[in-house]
């Protein structure tokens, strides 16, 4: 089959032809399409811009009327005030930062592996209980977590993990979204023929998983890494962690905001700092997704 397709005609999509479609829109269609994307994109990104801009505002600009979106005389005073504002903590700030990073990285790593392993079994193995398990996983997503807090608390207490690092880690690993997402993706992205071939070559399940499954579904576990990191990074389990040494950043930042309008700038500066790690993870994750995609060639 050697059939060459016409490359798309319009300029915006010309560059990387491998991703462009074979059918083109009308000019009007193109116009609406781009307007829609730009408008929607700006609408979404506005809060990010707003928080960055506000974090550089001096106090008189925070209170000005009529309010101005952009900053006139940017200052880094809000950032410089942060160490002072956080100086009355019982433990040094670095401890909270270390806790946050350590917990987020380890938990995300285990979350990806445990979810992917379970998803692989649910997507590709053949056994009777499979559908029942998958159905339960989906239904569990429908039960609002709110009333589960008391029974969960009792279970943590029975396990003796209250006020330890485990209370961050273990419950996060029970999150069903990852299994659901990975299972849906693996069904499409892992051809049976590939697994059969590996089995004929004598590879066991464990080896198949590490050397074939995980590399093939890399785009999705990279995406799951982002989802996992983002939710664990912002986790603040105030009912199960009391020891100051075990607390994470999101549990100490509200005390800056508690300072009211006078500290609005510093509070925003803290928000901006808190956004940096998830954004870094986003960049690592999504730039790799795009690369993995261009080289993906394993198909039936």
């Amino acid at each position: 089959m050697k059939f060459k397709f016409k490359k798309p005609q319009f300029a915006a999509f010309k560059k990387k032809s491998s991703f462009a479609r074979r059918f083109t829109r009308s000019k009007i269609g193109n116009f609406f399409y781009c307007t829609f994307l730009v408008a929607g994109g700006l609408f979404s990104v506005l809060p990010l811009i707003y928080s960055v801009v506000t974090s550089f505002k001096p106090i008189d600009e925070l209170l000005i009327f009529p309010p101005r979106f952009f900053v006139q005389r940017p200052t880094i005073a809000n950032y410089l005030a942060l160490p002072d504002l956080l100086s009355n903590l019982q433990v040094p700030l670095s401890r909270y930062i270390a806790n946050s990073l350590l917990i987020s990285i380890i938990t995300t790593f285990l979350y990806i592996i445990i979810s992917s392993m379970a998803a692989f079994v649910l997507a590709k193995a053949k056994f009777k209980a499979k559908n029942a398990i998958f159905w339960t996983v989906q239904m569990a997503l429908m039960f609002n977590a709110y009333t589960l807090s008391i029974p969960s608390y009792l279970i943590y207490a029975k396990m003796n993990i209250i006020d330890t690092y485990w209370v961050y880690l273990l419950p996060s690993l029970a999150d069903t979204m990852g299994v659901f997402l990975m299972k849906q993706y693996m069904e499409d992205a892992l051809p049976d023929a590939l697994l059969e071939a590996a089995k004929i070559d004598g590879a066991g399940y464990t080896r198949v998983f590490w050397s074939i499954v995980m590399p093939t579904v890399k785009p999705m576990w990279l995406t799951l890494m982002l989802f996992g990191f983002r939710s664990i990074w912002s986790m603040a389990p105030s009912t199960t962690i009391f020891t100051e040494q075990l607390k994470t950043l999101p549990m100490v930042t509200p005390q800056i905001a508690a300072g009211g309008t006078a500290r609005a700038g510093s509070s925003m500066a803290m928000t901006v700092i808190m956004m940096i790690p998830p954004i870094l993870v986003y960049m690592v994750s999504q730039s790799n997704v795009m690369q993995a995609m261009t080289s993906a060639g394993i198909k039936e």
């Binding site: 392993m117 279970i155 659901f180 997402l181 785009p219």
Partner: protein, 305 residues
């Protein structure tokens, strides 16, 4: 005869041994899932038949909580109505938007695509991020919207956006849509990129002549699994609107305009300590969501037919 049974028994044993690593791979998740999700869910269902104030031991009530919900609780009807309005409007729009945006963004070169998807994903990255909406819709003249309308001369005095029932519902729906884009949108993009170009090429040879046909006969059927995932995520988020409404409009909101089942439940559990009743509300909410999930499953199975 005996020989064959022996052989088949051997085979069975073989198959069992082969499945062993699979059990090992599923087990870690299943253990955590059972401990931290399934047991709490069943305890919560059990508590829904009791009166429980977190201190004294639960008292069995039978269906008393459910009776109270449907017969005596005046607010319950209002919060169910609000929740359904959110679910029916924000759910489908969010679902379609997440797909359409992903479909659009997916056609650009990798760099442009990364930038665009970053823009659409920021609301989730910013975390809460609700502060901008509070400033925008702030009821005094300092609010961005009010000061804009005032300076243009469209209004003469500031409108209390977040205290007026008729504005509240649309505002919360917009903010909800803005915030719910993240997970479904990104997983849709990954799903779309998994559809190989050769499928479209083969489609073109088979006589597909327009983008709409391409969407209907190739893209959508290939995306079925991801669409189901994003539908479930939308059900989950649109039936559980509460923190947005509480943060923007307070609780209770003016004339209960945007109070939902979840905020009612939270009120019962954390303010009034009627934990048994809150659990009963959770069970009813679960039944509503599970029912929607089955309906969606039926609708999605029509794709590609």
């Amino acid at each position: 005869m005996t020989k064959t049974t022996k052989v088949s028994r051997l085979r069975k044993k073989d198959a069992f041994l082969e499945q062993l690593p699979l059990v090992g791979m599923l087990a870690p998740f299943l253990i955590f899932f059972l401990l931290f999700t399934i047991i709490p869910i069943f305890s919560s269902i059990a508590l829904s038949f009791t009166s429980y104030d977190l201190i004294s031991t639960p008292k069995f009530l039978g269906i008393g909580n459910y009776e109270r919900m449907f017969v005596f609780d005046d607010i319950f009807g209002i919060v169910v109505k609000n929740t359904l309005v959110f679910a029916i409007i924000a759910g489908p729009i969010g679902f379609l938007l997440a797909f359409v945006l992903a479909w659009f963004v997916n056609e650009f070169s990798p760099f442009v695509r990364t930038v665009l998807s970053f823009m659409f994903y920021t609301p989730s990255l910013v975390g809460g991020g609700l502060f901008i909406w509070q400033v925008l819709f702030s009821g005094d003249a300092y609010g961005y919207l009010n000061s804009m309308l005032l300076s243009v001369g469209l209004i003469t005095e500031p409108i209390t956006w977040l205290k007026t029932p008729q504005y509240l519902m649309p505002i919360v729906i917009i903010v909800q849509l803005w915030q719910s884009m993240g997970v479904s949108f990104l997983s849709n993009i990954s799903g779309l990129q998994n559809i190989g170009d050769e499928l479209y090429e083969a489609g073109a040879i088979d006589g597909i002549r327009s983008r709409w046909q391409e969407l209907r006969f190739i893209t959508l059927p290939q995306m079925k699994n991801m669409l189901l995932f994003s539908a479930v995520m939308q059900i989950q988020s649109s039936f559980s609107v509460s923190s947005i409404a509480i943060e923007l409009a307070g609780f209770p909101s003016t004339q209960y305009a945007v109070d939902t089942i979840v905020s009612h439940m939270a009120d019962m559990a954390t303010v009034r300590f009627e934990y048994g009743y809150a659990s009963a509300i959770a069970v009813i909410l679960f039944i509503m969501m599970a029912g929607t999930r089955m309906l969606i499953g039926k609708v999605l199975s029509l794709i590609g037919k």
